[in-house]
Symmetry: C2
Subunit: 243 residues, 2 copies
DNA sequence: CGAAGGGTTGATCTCTGTCAAGTCTAGTGG
DNA sequence: CCACTAGACTTGACAGAGATCAACCCTTCG
């Protein structure tokens, strides 16, 4: 194992001090020198909802870490049909090293802030640090697992199951191990109905109906159309077909 | 770039001499010493159709290269619903380095022959050869792209489009750039109807009906239920929504 | 020959999509 | 301050694509 000096070294760029990505994200593989080098070329910025971050088939010039917000990866058919093929949250890495684009575009699902740096800087770092490539590899495998979970959902689940699965995805993401005892949770939907529909392979109307069904069954509680309250997570989980 | 001695070196294990994986697969990243080391622990063998190669959630002890045949990666729901989440063909690598299983199992779709070696041997090689990890990383990214293409298909396509897309997948795979001028092709389906249905998120009956529809429209020709003749690939491609 | 596996075809049902109207909220401008 | 509009969401009526149930064909194999 390589020495991981960065943790105890005080010379960490100010930019990175409070950044999640430095621990859980790809930057965790860098030592303080590399971090300083990277941060010199880095640009932190906020983007507006529905901004296109990466156009399909465009050459990618920048890579980013997501500091805050939710990014949706979408695929579009010529006639306008759309499918969300991935959601990326906080310390996720955004970009496609070593690979041309294949028709996926990235859009901010709401307010998002990013930490971006030029493609060639990252590639230089990858060459000198196998550990960094290993991190990227692991993120790719994680995304692959998520994609396959979604494939089972898209191909074989009913509408209610899909909606429940989506809600459980958010629950699991917001509640990483902590609060295991509390069986209830409350959170805001990061996506509007149209996006949820594109995520689940349904129409807006069907999504709406299934949410109403879950609400009437007492499985969830909806405030302002955006805030969800789950009084008993295990009930929701059962509908999602927890496995 | 690392020196790639293996191409011109005559001391290549007999086992590997005629193997596709040595060029296009992961083994292409190894020099002849590493190849010899690996081949010492390697076991080539054939497996019967529908054999389970990797059980869902089992600890993986072996990795393999696919020498011949088609392997399906499947996900199963408790009530028996099933979804094929990936197909792997000839020089593909089979296994999940650095990652516990997540409910995917691998099965031979027909007669398959594999070249297997123990987990720890590969992991040792990965440690000394960053190029090998890079290859594995690239295969993961390729699989991720395929998974996302499938997600669009599963979530947003109609039954005919799905079947046409599946056939085009086979066409593209069997016809890598060559024979670009010939607009027709003939091939055997590597999957039976039940597997095609699990791949497309449909039922057997619907798959059968859509194939009949394509046959009656003159887009394809079916012999013995297994051999497909496509007289005009562009017609098929148009139905699949080629993009 | 009979049984089993793979495939097709038909009749019917149902879930989800489509079309259309309506609610609620926030924002704009007179 | 109120009318007006636009966007996000819901609800209802209806239609249609695909699922389900069932019969049937064909080939293979003991």
């Amino acid at each position: 194992m390589t020495e991981r000096q960065d943790i105890h070294n005080s010379s960490i760029p100010v930019l990175c001090k409070s950044c999640e990505a430095r621990h859980r994200g790809v930057c965790g593989a860098l030592n303080s020198d590399q971090l300083i080098y990277l941060s010199k070329h880095t640009h932190k910025g906020a983007v507006q909802p529905d901004t296109e971050l990466i156009a399909a088939d465009s050459k990618i010039e920048n890579y980013s870490n997501i500091i805050f917000g939710t990014v949706k990866l979408t695929k579009l058919m010529p006639d306008g049909r759309q499918q969300i093929v991935g959601l990326q949250f906080s310390p996720d890495f955004l970009g496609r090293p070593f690979r041309r684009e294949t028709g996926v575009s990235a859009e901010a699902a709401g307010p998002v802030s990013l930490c971006s740096f030029p493609k060639n800087i990252l590639e230089k770092l990858v060459k000198e640090s196998p550990e960094l490539e290993h991190r990227l590899h692991e993120q790719a495998l994680r995304e692959l697992d998520e994609a396959r979970d979604m494939m089972l959902m898209l191909g074989r689940m009913t509408a209610v199951e899909k909606v429940a699965t989506f809600l459980m995805l958010l629950v699991k993401h917001l509640d990483p191990e902590q609060d295991d005892d509390s069986n209830s949770i409350r959170f805001d939907l990061p996506l509007k109905r149209a996006d949820i529909a594109d995520f689940l392979g349904l129409t807006i109307e069907t999504v709406s109906r299934q949410m109403t069904k879950l609400r009437k069954a007492g499985v969830i509680d909806i405030e302002n159309n955006r805030t969800i309250n789950v009084p008993d997570i295990s009930r929701l989980s059962a509908i999602a077909g927890n496995f």
